[in-house]
């Protein structure tokens, strides 16, 4: 567990260093305040409406496909670890094959639905 503790420590110190890197300039950098410094950048023109807008569906569909895929693939990792053990033999291959086949169907479906080709 200590190994993982160390890892977490790295993460924590990473945060700390990041904060430090932001604190330093706020101490030494000039501070000019004015309306223009706070203006949202939109090519020098005032923005029209908020940026918190709604987006096309395509992004979302990719996220969905990704979630399923990632779950599937991550299940494969433990299996891949023991894939070569003799006790499983060809059964392991068949299982992985079926699994990947089903996984591929998702791509095929998405493809046919035009998700991948971005039908807008």
């Amino acid at each position: 567990m200590t190994d993982y503790g160390q890892l977490i420590a790295y993460l924590g110190i990473g945060f700390a260093l990041g904060i430090a890197a932001l604190v330093v300039p706020s101490l030494i950098a000039p501070r000019y305040k004015g309306a223009e410094t706070e203006k949202t950048y939109e090519c020098g023109v005032d923005t029209v409406g908020s940026a918190w807008i709604r987006f096309g569906i395509s992004f979302y569909l990719f996220a969905l496909i990704f979630v399923a895929f990632e779950v599937d693939i991550l299940y494969l990792f433990p299996v891949a670890l023991v894939f070569n053990e003799e006790m499983f033999g060809w059964r392991a291959f068949v299982e992985v094959f079926i699994f990947l086949l089903i996984l591929s169907l998702a791509i095929v479906y998405a493809w046919r639905k035009g998700v991948i080709r971005w039908t807008r």
Binding site: I57, Y60, L64, V67, A68, E70, V71, Y75
Partner: protein, 101 residues
């Protein structure tokens, strides 16, 4: 940490999730509550797994399945949210007369 502490912790999380499910009106917020509840279950299982289980792999696999099913469930629920929104232009459960029959 004792088993009881972990279970109580899971319970707390579960109840927070329950509160989220009950109190919120936004469908996505309700989904958040459900996810919390599911995760509380995962903690519970892993705690038992850690302290009691004769075969640790089983507990882990169950949690992995929970995670996987949560992913599937989230995908479906979010799609429904989207459809509902398209129909109704709102994701407030109170406005969802459409879903009621």
């Amino acid at each position: 940490m004792t088993l009881e502490a972990w279970i109580l912790f899971a319970l707390v999380l579960f109840c927070i999730g329950l509160y989220g499910v009950l109190a919120r009106r936004n469908l996505i917020a309700i989904l958040i509550g459900i996810e919390l509840m599911l995760n509380a279950v995962s903690v519970n299982i892993l705690a038992f797994n850690h302290f009691l289980a004769p075969d640790p792999a089983v507990g882990q696999i169950i949690v992995l399945f929970i995670i996987g099913l949560a992913a599937a469930e989230a995908a479906i629920v979010l799609s429904i949210v989207l459809t509902v929104y398209r129909q109704r232009a709102a994701i407030d459960v109170q406005d969802l007369k459409e879903l009621k029959g």
